[in-house]
Structures are given as C-alpha cells and as structure tokens.
C-alpha cells in the first residue's frame, strides 16, 4: 500500500513537473538557451550519382531523448546516420553539435565528440576475441588489460554479460550486439546510434535491450533509434522522424499515433494486410523429412540433427529462428545443394530423393528460392532471360543442350508481367534490379512453374513493404491453389501472418510443429533461445 501510494505520488509529481517543463521549454526556446538540442542536422543532402539518398533532411535530438528514425528500405535512414557518424560525407547541409557547427570527417572524430554507433550488420571481426574487438575501436591509450578490467564493471551495471577472451564467431547475435553496445559505452557517449538493433534478436533479448536503453536515457544519453518495427518504436521513443524517398515527411510523437497511421506516413499510402480467401485445407503430404541429420559443411556452420517435417498440399509451413541456427543448412538439404546419404530422409511427392541433386528434385515438382538473391538465386551479370535457365533448364527454354533464347525471353516477360517487376530497361542484367524487384522476379520464376512444393528462405529480407506484401500474398495464393509452401524466415510477424503451421529451429534442431494459433510470440521466443523445456527460468539470466 505504501509502495503504491509513493508510486502514485511520484507519478503525479513527474506529470506536474513535465507539464511545468514543457511550458518552461516554450519560454526557453524563445530565449534559445539550454533546451537546445544536443545535435541538429540542417538541410543534409547526399547524392550518389543519379540517386538522391538524402534530400535536405532536418533532424534535432535533445539530450536524454530516445529519437526514432523511421522509413522503408531505401528511404535514406542508413545514409543519414552514416553521415552523422562520419562514415559518409554529406553533399550539402550542416551539422550542429550543442549549437556550434561541426564537420565530422571520420568515425574517429564522431567518437571524439561523443557519438557511438551500434551497426545493423555489426562491425565486428569474427576471428578476434571480444576484448580485441572492443580495444580496436577505442582510442590509443586503451590496452587489452584495461578493456578486460572495465568490461566487468560495464557488464555488471548494465546487465550486459560478456566473456573477454571468447572468439566472436562462437557468440550469438544477441551477444555480438552486446559487444557493440559495450564498445560504445566504454567511451562515455553522449549520443548512441542504433541501426535496426532488434532485427536479429529474440523478443526476450529485445526487451532486455529496451531496459538498457531506458537506463541510458535516464542517465542523459541521447539515443537515435533506427527501426521499421513500429510497435517497439511506440514502446521506446519520445519522438519519431519519418523519412520517405530521402526526404523527411513528418516529425511526430509515436506514442500519440497508431502503428497503422505511422506506417501510412512511411509508405505514403495505406498498406493492406495479406488476405486469405479461404482457410487452407491441407491434403496429401507433398514433402516429408524423416529424421534428417547432416554434419556441418563449413567451418562456422551448424549441424542438423534428426529433423522431422511434413508439409501438405494446400498449406504454408513456417520455420522461425534466429539467423545462423541451421536455416541455410536446412535449405541446402531440402533443395539438394547438399544431398544426404539416406535417400528416404527426404521424400518429395512420394519419391525418396535425399541423395538426389537439385535438378532431380525439380523434376519431381519442387522449387526452391534461396536467401541470397544476387549470386545464389540469380547470376548478377546475366540478363533476366538468361536467369530463367537456372531453374527451367530442363523445361521449355533449352533443347539438346542449346538455349532457346526466344523462349527464354518470352518466359522472362511472362514472369515480369505477372509479378509486377519494375525494370530500368528491357531484359536487364539481374544486378540492375532493386532488391525488391529482383526478389519478385526470383520468386515469380519458381512460382510460374506451378510447383507442388515450394521452399523459400527469407522471402522478404530487405524488401520494401509493397513488394513484401505482394510476395506474401503470392505465397498464400500458391498454397490455396494446392501447393505445399515452406517458408523459412526470421521475421516473426511475417510467419504469424501467412503460415498455417509453424516450428522453430534452434542449433540445428526443430521444435514440434504446431498450428500458428497455438503459438504466442513469447513461446516462439523461448524456442528460439532453446530454453522452452526449462520452463523459462533461463530467460532471466539473460
């Protein structure tokens, strides 16, 4: 009772204080005194040849504020923060740090000002140890021993546990991110930039990160938080600046708007969900995986151990998991890029084909879309028509070893039309398409064959919202038309949206397969961490 009382009192006090402050701020702003932003970008532009990545962007961050930078892929978020961190030089515009203009010519100068950055695809060195990774980014007077000593303190006060002498490649994505954060914190930053920090984390790890960020913000550190996950931005941030096609279109309080309203600002129009015409009625088994085990294929790979999986005609089966838990190995085993010794470990449409190669499996009616579109799903310097040969070689585009160019062009045109692929010229090289358009082409190339089984790895990775919606809709429609669709994805929202049944892969093992309605984000998160069987105790130890 006493606790509740004092809590209420404090709440009341802070509310009154905040009201008072905001009023004060109005007065102060007129006087232009200490309420000034920590950092202010004015009219920042960046031109790459024809492309205007940033077009006169303004951005102001106050001390202690958690400020969201929102926008679709290609909206110019990454370019803007690279400018702020001194990696990229702006073509025009001005940066003010505590009211005085500065030029940030390199990350070293950014760090000297007090700017720290946690990168999206991590700026770590796999073969080096944790302590070495931290020391290399600090100023010259940090020795390895000093880093080891301070690592303990920082780990303790922010709950960021790390072992100094482990090699980075042995660590999980969450641990890797901790290294980046600790690296910044050791420099006593005034502004911390985080680029899509939760894209590689489980829901539990993300919540843990938010607590750390709240704590830093309370200590007066400003945070620039880049994300396209709107719910977490609404949970965490006080201000949001929204970029679209390189321009800032709005600066809002994300807590006062719904996720839908913010999404509309990001995309420029309403984004619909995927519609499912009828509930999927699964029929016969099209793909069966029977206790499939596979040793690691590469130095830092993951071994698959006794995986059981069944996909029926007419359903979408989802496979969730954090990156690097055996997804690419599972895909390689299913597609036949890595055949197994046991032929009956994988059965496609009733035919055992575990030892068969990729083309044999295609002839059985299977189709595959790997994660990496440029270089794996498509040959970068080949034209789209030539790229149809990759998976259609046995079919209509070649005869007795010769390419039927006209048929290939016709096929490419058909794919381009039915999947709305936008191209810079007629029949361009694959590398000239944007990520979203190439992904539409690659998925379309497989779907146009009407496969009995389609296996897709990360169908919408790095694809803009419009293309992602089109791809998801096509996957659902293919299942409705009677194919079995297997989607391997790290995007949980995507799987909850399109999958009928789902399982989680963790360190090469697959969890039990359950209907999506029986999963919650929490239960998926526990499986992702591999702690589901330990009644969730271990999560607190994070």
């Amino acid at each position: 009772m006493h606790h509740l009382h004092s809590g209420l009192q404090r709440l009341l006090a802070t509310t009154v204080f905040n009201l008072f402050q905001s009023e004060l701020q109005c007065v102060k702003e007129e006087l232009s005194s200490s309420a000034r932003p920590l950092v202010e970008l004015r009219g920042i532009s960046k031109r790459y040849g024809e492309l205007l990545a940033n077009d006169a962007v303004d951005l102001a961050i106050r001390p202690g504020e958690i400020h969201a930078l929102l926008g679709e892929n290609g909206a110019g978020k990454s370019t803007l923060v690279k400018i702020l961190y001194g990696v990229v030089e702006p073509s025009a515009g001005e940066i003010q740090w505590e009211g005085r203009p500065v030029t940030i010519a390199s990350p070293v100068e950014a760090r000297a000002l007090g700017i720290g950055m946690v990168f999206q695809h991590f700026s770590l060195f796999d073969e080096l140890t944790v302590a070495e990774n931290i020391a290399v980014a600090l100023s010259d007077d940090w020795t390895l021993d000093a880093v080891r000593a301070r690592l303990g303190d920082i780990s303790h006060s922010y709950g960021l546990a790390l072992e100094a002498d482990r090699a980075v490649w042995t660590l999980s994505a969450g641990e890797r991110q901790r290294i980046e954060i600790v690296r910044c914190l050791l420099q006593g930053p005034r502004l911390l930039i985080l680029d899509e920090p939760t894209s590689v984390l489980t829901p539990q790890e993300a919540e843990h990160l938010f607590l750390t960020l709240d704590k830093l913000s309370a200590e007066g550190v400003s945070i620039l938080y880049i994300s396209h996950k709107l719910e977490e931005v609404r949970r965490l941030c006080q201000t949001a600046t929204i970029l679209r096609a390189g321009k800032n279109v709005a600066s809002i309080d994300p807590r006062a708007h719904s996720a839908r309203e913010i999404a509309a600002l990001m995309v420029g129009n309403e984004v619909g969900g995927v519609r499912s015409t009828a509930p999927h009625v699964p029929k016969g088994e099209m793909l069966t995986v029977d206790s499939l085990s596979l040793p690691t294929g590469s130095l830092h790979g993951v071994a698959l151990s006794s995986i059981d999986l069944a996909a029926h005609a007419g359903e979408v089966v989802g496979i969730a998991g954090i990156a690097g838990n055996g997804q690419s190995e599972l895909f390689a085993a299913l597609s036949g890029e890595r055949p197994t010794d046991r032929n009956d470990a994988i059965i496609i449409a009733g035919h055992p084909c575990g030892a068969a190669g990729i083309d044999a499996r295609r002839r059985l009616g299977a189709a595959f879309v790997p994660e990496e579109r440029l270089g794996h799903a498509a040959a970068p310097t080949h034209r789209l028509s030539e790229n149809t040969l990759i998976s259609h070689a046995a079919a209509e585009v070649s005869r007795s070893g010769f390419i039927l160019l006209r048929a290939a062009r016709r096929l490419a045109r058909a794919i381009v039309q039915s999947f709305d692929v936008r191209m810079p010229e007629a029949d361009p090289q694959a590398r000239k398409l944007s990520g979203g358009n190439l992904q539409k082409f690659v998925i379309g190339r497989e779907m146009i064959r009407n496969p009995a089984v389609l296996v897709v790895d990360q169908p919408t990775w790095g694809v803009d919202a419009g293309a992602a919606r089109l791809i998801r809709q096509a996957l659902v429609d293919l299942a409705t038309a009677g194919s079995a669709v297997i989607v391997i994805s790290q995007d949980l929202d995507e799987l909850f949206e399109i999958a009928d049944r789902m399982a989680v892969i963790h360190q090469g093992r697959l969890s039990p397969m359950k209907p999506v309605s029986e999963w919650t984000k929490e239960s998926v998160g526990l499986e992702m961490l591999g702690v589901a069987e330990n009644s969730g105790e271990a999560v607190h130890a994070l």
Partner: protein
C-alpha cells in the same frame, strides 16, 4: 668441419631468404592484400643489390638498393591494387613478370661479376664450441636479423595495438572502415613492408647465397615463400619452422643428387615444390578450409564516401 656440419650451414643459408620474404608477405596478407608479385620483387632486389654492391664495392649499399628496389615494386603494386582497386591476382602476376624482365635488364652488365663472401659475425669464444659453434654463433648479420624479424613481427601482430588494427583490417575491411580504421593507409604500409622484405631476401640471394647474378636466379623462391605463408596458417612462428623445413628440402635434394641415388635429378629438384603441394593438401584436408585465412584476403576495398 664435418660434412654434416657443412650441410647444416647450407640449410641456414637456403632458409634465410625464404624466411625474410615470407614474413613480409605474411604482414601484407594479414592486412588483406594477396601479393603475388613477390617473385618479381625478389628478382628486382637481387639484381639491384648486386649492381649497387659491385658498382660501389659495398655490401651495405647493395642491401640498401635491394630494399629500395623491392619497395619501389611494392609501391607500384600498391597504387594499382589500392588506388585503383584492381584485381590483386592479376596485378600481382603482372608485377612478377615485369620484375623478372626488368631485373634481367638491370643485371645484364653485371653477369660474370663476383662478390667476396660477407664476413660472418663470429661471436668470440662461443664460435669455437665444437659442432654447434659455427651453426649458432658464426652466422652473418642477415641470419640473426631474420630471426629478430620473426620475433618482431610476432610481437607486432600479437601484442601491439597497431598490429591489432592491421589484423582487424585484414579480417573485415568493411567493419574496419565503419569504425574509422585507416584501411588503405595500413594496407599501403603493409605492402611496402612486404616489398622491402622481398627486396632484402633478393639481396641475400645475390650477395650471400650465390655471390653472382644470373637472370631468373630467384628460381621460384618467391612462390615457395607465398605457399609458406599458407602452410604456416599466417603465424610468424610457423613461418620460421616452415622456412627451415623447405630450406632443408632444397639442400638435401642437392646432396641426394650428388650422392647419385638412382632417382632422376629432375624428380629430386621437384621435391621442395611437391612438399609445398603436399603440405597445402594436408592442411586443407584437416580443416576443411585453411585456418587463419584473413577474411578480406584478396578482396579489393572501395570506401563509400
């Protein structure tokens, strides 16, 4: 002096140029640059040092000229692969061919000339110890220098901050650039160091090993030095061991030929090269991929500013 002792002494002489050249290449590769121009840089070092030594009648001038010649070829290579981000394999091969040709041109007037042997650095007292005295305490400065260089490179890579920066850049140049580490500058200096070492190794060949100049006298030692770096899994300690194993193989096949083993001499001459292939094969069988390969090795870097 027994025959056995003499063999041991020649092994040291055969191993030293391999060790020096490999250490330079190791530093360049640890920074992420594959320098296939090693053979050409060694050849340039050999001819320029011999020319300078004969002209000025000074071994010191010869050594200086060898290092400068290797460094000059390295600077040329660096401008092409760093400044223009050209393909490192193609550029390296071109430098080797160019270096072999140019060294022949520079060395042509000096064919037939001879230099006196470089005086060994006899350590008084110790050098008279029977059997091991000459081997350990009666070598020339190059040999002691090459051992000191191994220790220095090991300490630099393992302990020094600058070495950590160099390793990071070789491991992942994109990350290093994002953190503000000077990728191109570090690589430029690493290539120069590699070239200077190759030049020194070449100088050793013409001033100490043969004491005359003939075209093509490097005879593939640059390629062996390159293989040695892989064999050593990019670790200085293993380069030292590997250089002496390969040096021994080179010398022993000569003695085997002299002893007329009934094996064709061509086959025996091929022993060091076969050993290289075998070592690489064994390494790759054991690890699936050569352990310790710098992540960015051979990949051109273009900063996005």
């Amino acid at each position: 002096m027994t025959t056995f002792e003499a063999i041991l002494l020649t092994i040291v002489t055969a191993s030293t140029p391999l060790l020096i050249a490999s250490l330079g290449e190791l530093v360049a590769e640890r920074s992420g640059v594959l320098n296939l121009g090693l053979e050409g840089m060694m050849a340039m070092g050999a001819s320029c040092s011999f020319a300078a030594a004969v002209t000025f009648d000074s071994t010191l001038m010869g050594v200086g000229a060898g290092i400068l010649a290797g460094g000059f070829m390295a600077a040329l290579f660096a401008v092409v692969v760093l400044g223009f981000a050209a393909n490192q394999v193609g550029s390296g091969l071109a430098v080797t061919i160019f270096g072999l040709g140019l060294s022949g041109l520079i060395g042509a007037p000096f064919v037939g000339a001879r230099r006196d042997p470089v005086a060994p650095l006899n350590i008084p007292g110790l050098v008279d110890i029977p059997f091991i005295g000459r081997l350990f305490f009666g070598q020339d400065l190059f040999v002691y220098g090459s051992i000191a260089l191994t220790v220095a490179v090991g300490l630099y890579l393992g302990r020094a901050r600058a070495g950590l920066v160099l390793r990071s850049i070789g491991e992942n140049h994109a990350s290093a650039h994002a953190l503000g580490l000077p990728v191109l500058r570090t690589r430029f200096l690493a290539i120069l160091f590699g070239g200077a070492c190759a030049g020194l190794a070449g100088a050793y060949l013409s001033l100490v090993y043969t004491r005359f100049w003939s075209p093509g006298m490097t005879a593939g030692r640059g390629w062996i030095a390159l293989a040695l770096v892989v064999f050593a899994a990019w670790r200085p300690r293993w380069v030292l061991i590997g250089a002496y194993i390969f040096g021994a193989a080179t010398v022993l096949q000569l003695h085997a030929q002299a002893a007329q083993f009934g094996v064709p001499s061509q086959l025996l001459s091929a022993v060091p090269y076969l050993a290289t292939i075998l070592a690489l094969l064994l390494l790759s069988l054991r690890h699936g991929r050569a352990i310790g390969t710098p992540g960015s090795l051979g990949v051109p870097f273009v900063p996005d500013r």
